[in-house]
């Protein structure tokens, strides 16, 4: 049974920071390998740390007639949303707050990213940034509904919106076994919400960095830190939702959580690098004509199983 404890409050940000550095380091190592270099572990871990130091001391640029309040609010909202979403994330047995509406809370915090990226894109009064911001809104319209159906499927099977309850319901077979569609859709939408991999059009090179194009210094650090945080939190949430959470043989609960989370994040990073950017006017067709019907069907099957039990 999962519960919440006060010690998790300082531990959670530290764990998340380590996970983010690890994920960015993996991405850096894969980049280096793709470029034909081999990167040592310390070299790869040094990449995000050096980048943080560089952005910390970097000069902040501004643009003419920028909407400063909106811009900064957007930039700050992204990491805050990631952190708030992580409150319901179980670290082994305990989470900071195992809310009765945990899944809804998690989803609501994720959706803050829509506002964050749009505001960050609108704020600098730059055409390409604004294109990036609006691209993310279009992306949200494509990925969010399948994402919600995937979340609801896990909650339906467990009969609760409490994340601890969903983990407890997987003492038998993990949810991924009998709801594989929901799991795959969840991972796809986790990448889309963190505009990672094939879904990076909002910050794409073709619009000179898009929503992040005018960001520099600490602003850039917050924005991309928030983006990686969101990716890590969304990926980590796949473990309690579909992969049985802390449960597993031999190893202690916290170690299973780490192993599974690491595997999910590695898969997300690898898949994200494997595919080129997909334009949203194409993906939205797939999302609405294929993914939504599939996830509804998945939810229906799961609901029937729950009723028959």
């Amino acid at each position: 049974m999962a519960d919440s404890a006060l010690w998790t409050v300082p531990v959670l940000p530290a764990v998340l920071a380590v996970a983010v550095v690890g994920t960015v380091a993996l991405d850096a190592a894969l980049s280096a390998r793709a470029a034909g270099r081999t990167e040592t572990v310390t070299g790869a871990v040094g990449v995000p740390l050096r980048e943080v130091a560089r952005l910390f001391v970097g000069q902040r640029r501004s643009t003419t007639a920028a909407d400063g309040v909106l811009w900064r609010a957007g930039v700050i909202t992204l990491p805050v949303a990631g952190l708030l979403a992580a409150l319901v994330l179980p670290l082994g047995f305990t989470s900071v707050a195992d809310l009765a509406v945990g899944v809804v809370w998690f989803n609501a915090m994720e959706i803050l990213a829509w506002a964050a990226v749009w505001m960050a894109g609108w704020g600098p009064n730059s055409a390409l940034s604004r294109v990036g911001g609006y691209r993310f809104i279009a992306q949200g319209l494509a990925y969010e509904l399948p994402h919600m159906f995937a979340l609801i499927t896990a909650a339906t099977a467990a009969g609760t919106l409490r994340v601890g309850g969903i983990v407890a319901a997987q003492s038998g077979p993990w949810f991924v076994v009998w709801m594989p569609v929901a799991f795959v859709v969840y991972l796809l939408s986790a990448m889309a919400m963190a505009f990672w991999g094939p879904f990076d059009a909002p910050v794409g090179r073709d619009v000179a960095g898009g929503a992040a194009g005018e960001l520099s210094g600490v602003d850039r650090l917050l924005f991309f830190g928030g983006r990686w945080l969101l990716l890590v939190v969304a990926g980590a949430m796949a473990v309690p939702l579909f992969l049985g959470g802390r449960s597993g043989p031999l190893l202690p609960a916290w170690l299973w959580t780490i192993v599974k989370t690491g595997a999910v994040l590695a898969a997300i990073v690898w898949v994200g690098r494997r595919f080129p950017t997909v334009r949203m006017d194409r993906f939205v067709e797939v999302a609405w004509l294929v993914l939504i019907p599939l996830t509804i069907l998945q939810a229906l099957v799961v609901a029937l199983v729950v009723l028959a039990r």
């Binding site: 294109v131 691209r135 279009a138 059009a201 794409g204 073709d206 619009v207 595919f275 080129p276 997909v278 334009r279 949203m280 006017d281 194409r282």
Partner: protein, 120 residues
């Protein structure tokens, strides 16, 4: 393709053939450019596929050496393409719009006079 004019065949041929094979084999690329910017019976996919054919025809079949000579002519009449462009771009997202413009391979050197004629 104009950029490749004068490049050395023996260096270029294997690279170009590999590139062409890779692009033709990419379903994702095809999916992203199909039904985009349909003009005179072809979409963006058809146009980049035609470029690949042009490139391969420009490469000599055997192990020839020396500079590339074929395929160095400019594409279609830029003024005619310019006239259909607004219609093609209507309602297109920026990324799509860039694909359409790039796929038409407008000859910018010819555009100056064409625009002057249209404007005057």
């Amino acid at each position: 393709m104009m950029i490749l004019c004068g490049a050395h065949v023996e260096q270029l041929t294997p690279l170009a053939r590999r590139l062409a094979r890779r692009l033709r084999g990419s379903r994702t690329l095809r999916w992203l450019t199909d039904d985009v910017g349909v003009h005179s019976g072809g979409d963006v996919s058809a146009r980049w596929l035609a470029w690949l054919v042009d490139i391969e025809q420009a490469l000599p079949g055997g192990a020839g050496t020396g500079p590339i000579s074929g395929g160095c002519q400019p594409a279609q009449d830029p003024a005619a393409l310019l006239a259909v462009l607004p219609e093609l771009l209507e309602g297109a997202e920026l990324g799509t719009a860039r694909l359409i413009v790039a796929s038409l391979d407008l000859n910018i050197a010819g555009l100056g006079t064409a625009a002057a004629v249209a404007g005057g």
